[in-house]
Amino acid sequence: MAYKVVHYINQFYAGIGGEEFATTEPAKIAGVKGPGMALNAALKAAGAEIVATVYCGDSYFAENNEDAITRVLALIKEENPDLVICGPAFNAGRYGVACGQVAAEVKEKLGVPTLTGMYIENPGADMYKSKTIIMETKNSAAGMRDAVAKMAPVAIKMLKGEELGSAKQEGYIPTGIRKNLFENERGAKRAVDMLIKKLAGEEFETEFPMPEFDRVAPNPAVKDLAHATIALCTSGGIVPKGNPDHIESSSASHYGKYSIAGVNDLDAEHWQTAHGGYDPSYANADADRVLPVDVMREFEKEGKIGKLYDFFYTTVGNGTAVKNAKKFAAEYAQELKANGVDAVIMTST
């Protein structure tokens, strides 16, 4: 036996009983039970075997969640499995949420790959689709054979460490995580074909559904600039000469925090840009063009602003994932707040 698999199911599929037994506490039995039998048969060909089945009543799991998940995880961990399969839960709400949570936490806390299956409208699908692979199943147990046929090949790929194809290719619920793949036709042909369908009023599938776009409303204006501490921040990549923290020219993995206490002008001798998305000649010649320390010092002297904050935060916006940018700012915004900064001028390029 090359691979060990643990299967998680509820009290019903474990053969304990229906709703009246939904308060069953977490337990484990050796080998397979219920839907595990068909799964096991399909996995055998690849040298995998379900070594244990962990189960829990749906009500117990929901009502004593912390205790239940801790005990389920412990029972699974004892087996040291290569993969954990949960469900499938079809359209059973509490069961689906339990399958999702067990799969997500096993993956996160035990570092073991996980797979579950449920109907697309099961509340567990939306809650956990980005945290585990959820195969899309029919909405009732009548779809068990179909679910097993879909889940087993993906389980085998995961056991072998093979990369999964796209949601559409493999049949899982889109995780919201973008994956590259090679199509049979080039993009231009796909675009023309898509347009022909769109013009004919036929159904077409976009390759990138537009996301809910994150728009930020500006804060109200600062009322008393003359007594405000203002910080400069930039995604234009201004760094001390030599880029000491090696901020990437594109797709930045981190940001820098540098002191400008006593600095009146960002000269070419001490400052440069790390940004790879624009011609750096003018920024390198005079970094104030991107991070206007010189003008802010004049304003400070004239009393237009109270004070220029002693540090600036900087990163490279070029090709940097919005998620990373958000994480950077969430971190340093706290520092700015804690240090009494009233407002920030954020410059781009």
Partner: protein, 426 residues
């Protein structure tokens, strides 16, 4: 307007005493090419090297790729405004050395140039692993401004491509492709029942080494306008870009614009290809508003039913793309847009810098942030000195064993937004 493209298939490239094409092999005289390039007093050296499909060769830092072509019949010459005087091209006969390419390389900025691998993982992503490449590694005089260096490199590439294209002048093509465009009124009369479709071609024009030229004119100084689709095949549009390698449009792809080819393939069958609208991607908001207004206005003038909009670059130009899409859709013209994505290395981030519900039909060239491992190559044309700072690389991208771990961004034309490749994402 009718253009016949005569393809002469090139299966190999070799150095030779005389530059010529014989039995599908392109022979190049190194000294003649060097002499041609070094006519430019801003350039001090030009190494000429050859790279063929399947070889263990890495070319970097790559600036542009150009396909050798020659006008054998009809007005003007290829690359009008550069290699030939300004005269309308796109009609008559043009011969093409299909399977050959000129690749210019040199450190213009360092982080804004790309990588072409002729074999291995990287070769899967770049279309230029499949061409027989004449590579020019060009060094400038000391202290030459980046802009002047870019200009010299650009002209050197066009010169050599024109020189090689000349070799095809008297050859009999292996295959002839005919592209005919009737004009707006004639097209309407001929295909009154077919949906009217145009191609909105966005040209990178953010300035500061992010430029595209149309008949020699810098696109950022032009209002949105129209061009005959066949003009592109004669080199009417030339790249002057130093942006992330994966999604800038090299001159080669402008010469072989895949959207134009695919629209021609359906012209008179499922649609009526009305023409090409070229618009820019300037940085100022007023320019973005004006240019996208103008795109939508031209779509309306042409009584279109549909339009395909293609992008160049990412981030800032995402806003131009979405503005074009939104405004064209608002005129009742259905759109499909072609873009690529920056969804983070794990693919979990928002892919574009702008979005709108109107953009409900999108073709993607893939996620450029994906990390790839490029094996060591036996030979490097150019230098690996900039691998760590190239857009898509990071400190340590170049491994001690000569392999490279970097984002897909570094590969020339990997996520092309004119739909040149099969790569996509879901």
């Amino acid at each position: 307007m009718k253009l016949e493209l005569g393809y002469i298939y090139i299966k190999d490239v070799q150095f030779g005493a005389k530059s010529e094409v014989k039995d599908g092999t392109l022979y190049v005289n190194k000294e003649e090419i060097q002499k041609l390039v070094l006519e430019d007093e801003n350039l001090v050296s030009c190494d000429v090297d050859l790279a063929r499909p399947g070889e263990s060769v890495r070319i970097t830092p790559v600036k542009d790729v150009i396909e050798p072509r020659v006008k054998v019949e009809g007005r003007g010459g290829v690359f009008p405004g550069w290699m030939h005087k300004v005269d309308t091209v796109g009609e008559g006969k043009t011969n093409v050395l299909k399977g050959a390419a000129v690749v210019t390389a040199g450190k213009v900025v360092g982080f804004q140039e790309g990588i072409i691998d002729m074999s291995g993982e990287g070769a899967k992503y770049t279309p230029f692993s499949k061409t027989n490449n004449v590579v020019l590694v060009i060094n400038p005089i000391d202290n030459l401004e980046a802009h002047d260096y870019e200009h010299s490199l650009r002209v050197a590439g066009l010169k050599v491509a024109t020189y090689l294209g000349e070799l095809a002048r008297n050859l009999t093509p292996d295959e002839v492709k005919v592209y005919e465009h009737e004009g707006v009124l004639e097209g309407y009369k001929k295909y009154p029942d077919l949906p009217r479709v145009a191609y909105v071609l966005m040209l990178q024009s953010q300035g500061l080494l992010h430029d595209t030229y149309v008949y020699g004119v810098d696109a950022k100084q032009s209002l949105t306008t129209m061009i005959n689709p066949t003009e592109l095949f004669d080199g009417a549009i030339v790249s002057g870009n130093c942006v992330s390698a994966c999604d800038k449009n090299p001159t080669y792809i402008h010469e072989n614009n895949p959207v134009v080819e695919e629209l021609f393939a359906q012209h008179g069958k499922k649609l009526n290809f009305v023409g090409v609208i070229i618009t820019n991607e300037n940085v100022y908001l007023a320019d973005k508003m004006r240019s996208s207004d103008w795109s939508a206005k031209l779509c309306k003038f042409l009584n279109l039913d549909g339009a395909i909009v293609s992008q160049e670059g990412f981030g800032n130009p995402d806003t131009d793309l979405i503005m074009n899409c939104k405004k064209i859709e608002a005129e009742g013209v259905k759109t499909v847009i072609i873009t690529d994505e920056y969804a983070g290395q794990d693919g979990s981030s928002q892919s574009l810098a702008d979005a709108d519900v109107a953009a409900n039909a999108v073709v993607t060239g893939g996620n450029a942030n994906v990390v790839i491992h490029l094996p060591k190559m036996d030979k490097v044309i150019g230098t690996l000195d900039y691998v760590d700072i190239i857009a898509g690389g990071w400190s340590g991208s170049l491994q001690p064993d000569g392999s490279i771990i970097a984002e897909l961004q570094v590969i020339t034309s990997a996520t092309n937004e004119q739909g040149y490749n099969c790569l996509s994402a879901r």
